[in-house]
Structures are given as C-alpha cells and as structure tokens.
C-alpha cells in the first residue's frame, strides 16, 4: 500500500473519519499554506487514516516533513498545528508515500475547458457515429412526464453545498478533483429517492440487450444555470466505472462540451429536455464532458440559443470492487487491482437436478434447502430477478384501480411496483430479500417477513393475491395446499389468486429448461463468494449477471470459470405436473380454477374465490393447517 520513493500521495495514519468529521478534516488541510494544499483527500468511512494527493511529489514531501516534525512550529506549520491542537491531534504523524497507480496515465482533471465553436442541435445518428462506436444521441428519448417527475424529486433534495456548482450525487458521490475518490457521505443514498424506476428503466432500455446488463448504481444531477458551467473535465477510469454512461437532460436545455484528449477532439452538443446521450465501450472512457459557461451558445444551423436553468442527469455504474474497498483499491499496488478480465464467471449452468429424499420432514427440508439458501443468495438472486413477467404484469394491470394485492413470496419485490394503479403488499420468508425490497423501493415498499403457509393478513382483506414461484419450495403436499388456502382466505369474495410454479414438463431447448428425473429435486445455485456474506446484497455486480430475461432458473452463463470462487447451494423444488396442480387446486376450499396456462416452463393457474359467503366459512377453519 505504501512505498518508499516519493510520490504525490500520502498515506496519513492517526487521523480519519473514525474520530473526526469530514469538515474537520477538510479544515485541517485547509490550514496548510496555499502552495501545500492537497489536491484531493480520500477519506474512508470508519477508518483512522486517510490519503491525501498533492500536486507533485516535492509538495507531498514537504507536508510529510511538517507532519513528522516534533520541533518548533514554523510559518508553514503554525496554522496547521493550532488546528490540530483544537481537534486533539498530536504530532508527529508518520505519513508514508502511497502509490496511486490504478488509473495512471489517464487519471485526473483537465483544467482548460475547450470551447466548441458550435453546439450540435440536429438529429442524432450521423453526429454520434462521428464521435466513434458506442456513442448514441437519442433526441426526445424520455417523455415529458418522466422528466417532470425527476425534476420535482431533484428539487426536493438538499443540494451539495460543498461544491461550487450545484450537483446532487445519488448512490455515491465523489471527492476532490477527478471522479475517482468515492464518497458515501455527501450523497442521496437511494437511487429511487430521486430517479423513479420507470425513468431508470427507460435509460437502461436504450442500451438494448447487453451482456452484462446495465445496473445503474450512481447518478449525478447537475444544475446548469445561464453563464455558469462545471469547472473541469474529468476522465473516468475503467478501474472504477462500468463501460457505459448516460447523460439525460430532464429540464430546460443546456450545452455540453465533449472532449477527447487522446484524439484532441472537441465537440459541442445542445441537449433539450428528454434528449439523451449515451456512450459505451471504449468511447465511454475516451470522452469527458463539461457544461461550459458560455452565455449564448451558437447552435449548428446558425441560431444562437438563450440559456435558462437546466438539469442534467448523468448515470453510471460503479464497479462492485470499487465500492467494496475504495481505499485499498484506489491506492494500492497494481497486483491487487481487480483484473478487468479473468474474473470468475458463472460456470455453465448445472442443469442436472438431483432427486431429493422426501422422507425428510417437510419443514426441515424447507429450512435447510429453501430459507437458508435464499437468505444466503438474496443479493445475488436479486440481480437475476428484475424484469416482471409480462403475463403477471398484465394480470396486475387489469385489476380495478385502487386494488389491494398481496404478493406472497415477493422475493426482491419486482412486482410490488409493476402496476401503478394497484397497491401491492409483499411478504417473504427471507428477511434479507425483504430488506432488499426496501432498499430498492424505499418507503413505498410495503413488505413484511412472513410465512406463506400461514399468512398474517386478515380474512378477505385483498382484491387479489400473487404467489409467483413460491409453493414449489414447500416440502409437502399439505403445506402446498395450506399455502393456496391461505391465499384464498386473504382475498375478498370474487378476488383472484395467480399462482406460478415450476413445471415438470419443461419445454426442451427453451431458456432455463431442465430435465427432471423426479418431481422433488435439488436445484443448484452457484453463488459467487463475494455475495456469500450477504453484506453486499444490493450492490450490482454486472460481471456476473446471467443473460437474458428472468427465468426461474439460476444463472446460465456460458463461460467456464474459476469454480473455487463459487459456492454451490442446493435449493429444494417440487416441480408440478399439470394434472397434479389441477388436482391440488381442486382441493382448495371456496375457490375454483378460472384459467390455466404454461408460461416459460412454469404452470400458471388463476383461482377465483367464490362470490358466495359460503366459502368464507372454510377460510378460518384451519382444517388444512396442521
């Protein structure tokens, strides 16, 4: 982590966020003479050390000498010493040189803003193609309503007062110059608090099918005022950011100056509300941007625009490793840098599902091979489950506006907000998954930890209920029936219950198809060790996302990889034959099967609760509960 040769960076022990607040630390360094001021500080949460970067190695050496001096204060150190004293820090501190090599050669801020002579205002294709592969300009991509919603959310937030321009960081912020020092202090923690799901989805959709899929975890909103600009270009490193970026103007119009220092090219772009510029692949790291201070930008076509207040959202993904250990990562030797290639990939999906000894007690089977497994894989699982199934979504959308829906076994909550006209309340047996719902969706997520075999909702309280890929995890027929009965109990007379279970009859050759030798099977889940603790539950790891849409199967990567990085967990499934599911539903009191269909290797059945009050008596008899 540290080396002996002088570098512009210092590792400074004994002071850090563990004992001092950020503004104290900033004040401390501000008390150095102007020539010795650090260019950037890297503060790490809960650590009693920090890193400081200076303009050059001699400056770092001077500061190091000041910190290590025991003697009399001189002009350079007097002010620093008095601030230190007031903060209760004593000298000497033995600072060491640190290496900052992860992005050498391309790190850093580029000071002079290049002024393009005009700002492109036409339609996108040719223009963006000229910037290079991976660049796309989509005029009017985001609809006005979505822009408006974002603008309202943005205006409701506290802006980062520390920065000279008005910037709002979401998910993660940045320290100092150059977006390479991650800061989880000065930011809105949750993406959803500012950017609603529909907006994010719209942006992600523009990238189309992509491997790995886009997982947005950081956004910065920039307020562009007339005649004001952001200060410097900053090249963003592939060590920290995934290889895509999106710029969306959500309010007003603003000029962008795009600069490719390697190619020495400058391009101007005029963005109007709803317009989006995206970059992926090499272009993403080659170009950098500022909002220039120009008052009356000349547009292509000869007109001169007048600026007004505008808002632009910049969306990115920060790599998993960069999030996990910013300090080690940012200031470490090349060896510990996470390689961009050769990271563990998912092995070919192991479709061999082993038969289960069903003589095990049902509850034990569920405990060991369902609940414990989901608790462990929650974070990973959540990344493979993000797209609502169209038919389930259609079911929700056809309900009366204002309907109450229970989603039992809601997993990561992908259906909780799938339809805007209904109110969904989710429950799941796995507390970590329920917490993920809450993390993803915020206070809107009405979720609880509950057992689908015995629900805690009062009778007839909901208009409809979902049980998607849930009862096939229950270890006995009695318990599967009890779960169905509970769903029927909780919906009102005339209410509908939609149930999805894995089908024994798999459509061979389809996504996620499996061969079952038995109806009671263990299905392996390959969990990457990084997820094992569950502590990184909601941090996307785009490298390991399985391809394609959400299938009920575990990841189906095609790359061979380091299996030692993976933990195999066995999930218990009872896969249903069609006749069996019909038979089971036939035993449910007070409801009948309204429709049944096969959907992506699942059997789906819709039950309708009887209109008559007669069914009600059965609801609470508990005859089916043991």
């Amino acid at each position: 982590m540290t080396i002996s040769a002088p570098t512009p960076h210092l590792f400074i022990p004994s002071i850090g966020l563990a004992q001092l607040q950020q503004d104290h630390l900033e004040r401390l360094f501000a008390s150095l003479p102007p020539a010795l001021q650090p260019a950037a500080l890297c503060l790490i949460l809960k650590r009693n050390y920090l890193f400081a970067s200076f303009t050059d190695a001699p400056t770092a050496a001077k500061v190091r000498a000041i910190l290590s001096s025991k003697g009399e204060a001189d002009d350079n150190s007097a002010s620093l010493r008095s601030v230190m004293e007031s903060l209760g820090i004593s000298l000497p501190i033995d600072a060491e040189y640190a290496e900052l090599c992860s992005w050498q050669g391309q790190e850093g801020a580029l000071d002079s803003v290049q002024d393009p002579c005009s700002y492109f205002s036409g339609q996108g294709d040719n223009w963006s193609a000229a910037l290079g592969a991976g660049v796309r300009l989509l005029r009017g991509w985001v609809v006005q309503d979505d822009c408006e919603t974002v603008r309202r959310q943005v205006d409701a937030q506290n802006w980062n007062k520390a920065s000279r321009q008005r910037e709002l960081h979401i998910g993660c912020g940045f320290h100092g110059r150059g977006n390479h020092m991650l800061d989880w202090h000065k930011c809105v923690k949750r993406l959803g608090a500012v950017l609603h799901e529909g907006f994010v989805d719209r942006i992600v959709a523009s990238f189309g099918e992509r491997t790995p899929p886009i997982a947005v975890n950081q956004a910065t909103v920039i307020e562009a005022l007339p005649g004001k600009g952001t200060e410097y270009y900053c090249l963003e490193s592939d060590a920290i950011f995934d290889d895509w970026i999106a710029f969306v103007c959500v309010h007003g119009s603003l000029p962008l100056s795009l600069f490719n220092p390697h190619a020495g090219r400058v391009e101007g772009l005029w963005l109007n509300e709803g317009d989006m510029l995206t970059m992926q692949g090499e272009a993403r790291y080659a170009w950098t941007f500022v909002v220039p201070a120009v008052k009356e930008p000349a547009l292509t076509g000869g007109t001169v625009a007048t600026r007004s207040r505008a808002l632009m959202v910049v969306m990115r993904s920060i790599k998993q490793n960069a999030q996990g250990a910013a300090s080690d990562y940012l200031f470490s030797s090349e060896a510990s840098r996470p390689p961009s290639e050769g990271r563990p990939k998912m092995p070919p999906s192991d479709k061999s599902c082993r038969p289960v000894d069903v003589s095990l007690p049902a509850t034990q089977l569920e405990e060991d091979h369902v609940y414990q497994v989901y608790d462990k894989i929650a974070g990973h699982f959540s990344h493979t489950r993000y797209k609502p199934w169209p038919k389930v979504q259609a079911f929700l959308e056809q309900l009366q506006p204002g309907s109450l829906v229970l989603d039992t076994g809601c997993g990561n909550g992908k259906y909780l907000r799938a339809a805007s006209n209904v109110l969904c309340i989710g429950s799941d047996r796995s507390a970590p998954l329920v917490e993920i719902c809450r993390e993803r969706l915020g206070v809107d997520a009405q979720v609880l930890v509950a057992d689908s075999v015995r629900l805690n909702f009062r009778d007839g309280c909901a208009d409809a209920a979902l049980s998607i890929a849930v009862i096939h995890h229950l270890g006995s027929e009695d318990r599967r029936l009890a779960a169905l009965q509970e769903l029927v109990r909780c919906v009102r007379s005339g209410g509908a219950v939609l149930v999805y279970v894995w089908a024994y009859e798999q459509e061979q050759g389809s996504i996620g198809a499996r061969q079952f030798d038995s109806q009671d099977v263990f299905v392996p889940w390959h969990l990457q060790r990084v997820y094992e603790s569950g502590s990184q539950a909601d941090q996307p790891d785009s490298e390991t996302q399985p391809e394609g849409s959400d299938t009920p199967c575990p990841p189906s990567g095609e790359l061979s990889g380091a299996r030692e990085h993976l933990v195999e967990l066995k999930r218990y499934y009872h896969v249903f034959t069609k006749d069996e599911l019909i038979g089971l539903c036939g035993r449910v009191c007070g409801a009948s099967v309204e429709s049944m269909y096969f959907d992506a290797n699942n059997w789906a059945v819709m039950l309708r609760k009887a209109e008559a009050a007669e069914g009600h008596d059965h609801d609470r008899t508990g005859a089916l509960r043991t």
């Binding site: 309340i425 329920v434 509950a450 057992d451 075999v453 015995r454 805690n456 909702f457 309280c461 009102r492």
Partner: protein, 129 residues
C-alpha cells in the same frame, strides 16, 4: 410500514383468535426515528376504492393511539366519501404515516412482532403454526 398495511395485519398463531388490530408500540430509543411521515401522491379516487377495504374501527383506534392529528373521524358517511378533505385526511393517515421501529402487540395473546427499518417480522415459531 404504512398504517394501511398495519390495517391488514393480524396475529395468526394457532393458539390465538381475534388478534386484531395489533397494537403499535413505538421504539422510543432516541437514536432512531420510530415513526415518520413521507408525503406521497394524493389520488382521491384511489382512496375511495380503498375505503371499503379498511377496517375503520381499527384504523380509528390506531390513529388515536398514535395521537395523529388530525387523524380520522370515528366514522364516515356516504357524503364523506366524496369530500376531498375527508379523503385527504384518510390518505395522510393510511399512506403517509410510516412505522419504522417498534413492535406490534397482539391485543389477545400479547405475542409481539418486531418492526425494524419499517419491516414487520411476522414469522411464527414451529409450535405457533
């Protein structure tokens, strides 16, 4: 947890019947916000549809216990259902009040269900199922 969600929850231990409504006991630890108000979009027709599904007595009682002001009236009439002020009051109580830290206590058997970070944990032990 919204009070709407709370209005749907009951104690469902096999040893217990009639465990509704669950009494909310806020965790008054000074480091935590036990309760919060998060404004959400007011959709009058949405609230109108919700009304018949609410257990009004339970809602009124809970709002009283939480000292919500203005809360909701003890009962409402057909007229009220079209009154925007009334619907707004219902919205404020069922949609915007969130219980974050504390517990839900069964009025019948005193079983306690913890609420943490806004998530009630209703899991029962094996002998309760």
């Amino acid at each position: 947890m919204r009070l709407l969600t709370h209005n749907l929850l009951m104690c469902n231990r096999k040893q217990c019947t009639g465990g509704f409504p669950l009494r909310i006991v806020l965790d008054t630890d000074i480091d935590k916000d036990a309760q919060s108000v998060e404004e959400s979009e007011f959709r009058p027709e949405f609230i109108q549809h919700l009304l018949p599904k609410l257990d009004w007595e339970a809602l009124y009682k809970t709002a009283q216990e939480l000292n919500l002001s203005p809360g909701v009236p003890p009962s409402y009439s057909e007229e009220d259902k079209k009154d925007e002020n009334f619907l707004r009051a219902v919205h404020d109580v069922v949609m915007d009040v969130h219980i974050l830290e504390g517990k839900l206590v069964c009025p019948n058997c005193n079983r306690e269900y913890p609420v943490s970070k806004g998530i009630p944990n209703m899991l029962l032990t094996n002998d309760e199922v």
